[in-house]
Symmetry: C2
Subunit: 434 residues, 2 copies
């Protein structure tokens, strides 16, 4: 608890960086352990871009690597983003130089976490990344520190605020994915290139990090099965709701004797379920442990204030000086988990078929499912008002199944797609197992 001054270098001065600079300027002695945080260098792509915080008095570095290795910097904060390029180069340089690193970069940790952990542990420098997942909501600390007295079975939740906002707006306003996305981009809630978010990749980065912490493995982003929300239609939102569900982009990691299954896909959650009730840009997470049971955590998943607060908490943790491995064991002992073949996973499903409005169709569909061994739980056919042209005069049939192996389900769907009365490819959404 010495009142040491920690000289902080901050690379990346977007909203989070600006929020952090404002916070540290206001409360340099925020850390309970008693250290003082002083920003001694900043770096960003543009020095002159207008910012809510005046950076002109701060030493400027064109090159984040030079900032990371500057003798004027004791702790390097990386807010540049991106799994490679300058962010990775600067973090590597800082760790090699034995400097603690705090980052909000989910792509970097998910894709290169194990090698960065090895660098960090070789030089004894902590590498912390609370802000990489769920913004200011401390999911990383919970799994990394608070759950070590348990064996975690699964982690599942809503980890991308942009997708959650879009799905919430689609349901609330009846506007299509494309319309809501365009508005979100105008409002600054979605990036100009929204692929990372709406394609599910951002959520996959985050769940890969949480899976590594939950199961004591190296992050294994390459093994994640990823589906985004681009194909979610208003029709499915409405039909799911009639069946008592809401569609959410759920990221999950489940451990079984065969290995770990990490998935991101649009999923149905019962309307009264906490995940269904987490609307707008909220993030939400269930952690299920053998001893602890189920813990639920919800909060803002992004934003300047929350994310900067998470970065600040990591800085305070560095000051407190704990000696832990970056993940749940020494980096050299970490292995990537064995991915489970998704086709073997068993779960309940929502299926939607577009069929010709003629006698015998329901019988044909349900017989095909029965022959394939898929058991129907609920069934819904109802007329669609103002049916879009894409429906080509067809009638939607929606059903939910009892638990079934995904390979069985997909085989059944293929057979149904081949029925003469079926107009369009069948749609599959999973029902969340939570």
């Amino acid at each position: 608890m010495t009142a040491k001054t920690w000289r902080i270098g901050v690379a990346g001065l977007g909203t989070v960086g600006a929020g952090l600079l404002a916070f540290l300027a206001e409360r340099p002695e925020f850390a309970p352990a008693g250290g003082r945080a002083e920003v001694t260098g900043v770096s960003a792509r543009s020095r002159s871009r207008p910012r809510p915080f005046d950076i002109s008095p701060l030493p400027w570095f064109d090159d984040p690597v030079a900032l990371a290795t500057s003798p004027q910097v004791d702790l390097f904060v990386e807010l540049v983003g991106g799994s490679d390029g300058p962010a990775k180069a600067a973090v590597e340089a800082a760790l090699k130089a034995g400097k603690p690193v705090v980052t909000a970069n989910k792509a970097l940790i998910a894709e290169h976490g194990a090698e960065l952990a090895a660098l960090a542990e070789a030089s004894g420098a902590p590498l912390l990344f609370e802000a990489a997942v769920m913004g200011g909501t401390p999911a990383v600390k919970m799994l990394r520190e608070a759950m070590v007295g348990d064996e975690i079975k699964s982690v599942a939740g809503i980890l991308n605020g942009t997708c959650n906002y879009i799905l919430t707006e689609m349901e609330a306003t009846g506007r299509s994915f494309a319309e809501v996305l365009a508005e979100a981009q105008r409002l600054g809630y979605a990036e100009a290139d929204p692929t990372m978010d709406v394609g599910g990749f951002d959520a996959a980065h985050k769940i890969s990090i949480l899976a590594a912490l939950a199961f004591g493995c190296a992050p294994n982003f390459a093994a994640a099965e990823i589906e985004g929300i681009e194909q979610v239609e208003l029709l499915d939102i409405a039909m799911a709701r009639d069946l008592g569900y809401r569609i959410k982009l759920v990221a999950s990691a489940d451990r079984s004797p065969d290995g770990v299954l990490v998935r991101v896909h649009p999923s149905l959650a019962p309307l009264n379920h906490p995940l269904a009730q987490a609307g707008g840009a909220l993030n939400a997470l269930f952690i299920e442990g053998t001893r602890i049971g189920r813990i639920f955590l919800q909060g803002p998943g992004a934003g300047s204030g929350p994310t900067a607060a998470a970065v600040a908490a990591d800085i305070a943790d560095v000051m407190a000086g704990a000696q832990r491995p970056v993940f749940q064991g020494p980096a050299k002992s970490l292995v990537a988990f064995t991915p489970v073949d998704p086709s073997k996973s068993v779960g309940r499903a929502y299926l939607r078929f577009l069929v010709k409005d003629e006698p015998g169709v329901i019988a044909a569909v349900s017989e095909t499912l029965a022959e394939a061994g898929v058991s129907i739980e609920s069934f819904l056919q109802k007329p669609v008002e103002n049916a879009p042209e894409s429906m080509r005069g067809g009638v939607p049939i929606v059903l939910t199944t009892h638990a079934v192996a995904e390979s069985v389900l997909k085989a059944a769907m293929e057979r149904i797609a081949g029925l003469p009365a079926v107009i369009d490819r069948p749609r599959l959404l999973r029902i969340a197992r939570i």
Copy 2:
């Protein structure tokens, strides 16, 4: 990350202690930092009492103080309970001897936290108490470590599983407080002397600890305003439900420029609110920060598995060697917060009056409220089926108010109590400000 062996002494061998011994026997090297935890001494009131875990091979200490100071013990785990007596003596002895202490004892920390923190910091020994609040759900770590980059405005939630179980059962089964309590005692969910739980004292201990961590103060249990659930009647549960609310025992701590208001009382939460939906023995907590916004945390609040897992996580934290003050600043600088006069607090309320079934009563009640400056939000009078004898032929009138100062409300209630048509003392329940 040296693979040191930590010799653990465990005092108190109830369900949590037994759960901890079983865990450490199974996974002595659970800590990510790499230490090995070995139980080298135990103590309890009775050595021979049947337990789910065989303690005969473990060195036995009749006196927990002797265990706490034994040269065979590096880290002392206190699971004895109670704010004074052997628990306090043993924790003090361990801290004076420079030994890290992990405890699940909410009463001890809430009532003596500041003096114990001073002992801990004088000798450099950590004092950790994650398991004291919300069992295996890491509320303490969240406030102590993860929120230090923010200013917390309020903390509020359901912190006593026994009360939550009783209220949930009363609503579900239509049985009275006394009946459900008796059953909970038979099932082992409630103590033989239930006062600590149902009187709100246990929740008050917990919220006092959270308030200290949230607001950077010493715990100030004496300043908590405490009301239990003993007076909650089925009639109020039903009437509140008709108005769209559920009654929960809510513990809250709110910071304002005047100081801090710490309260525990039965409160109405809207039916669709997460607190209303946390049923049974669940615990739930909202944390509201200036930067982070609102974070919600929910999980099992007690039980052998979750609580032992929280103790184990604290042991792993000791092994990681972080140097932090026990609360949010050095013990010598901690001050107890200034309590806010509850009568000045402003909030919405639920009032219930038992009145004679005669003309003009509603007018009299509502005029009295209007004259006192209390504005009615909703009003409900309905016949009660199978009215209990205690209602003496009266008719209940229930209303909710707009926000009003508590002193104004209480003055109005007194005037109403004096009306000739009012049979019984009016009942007041607060509507949760969350």
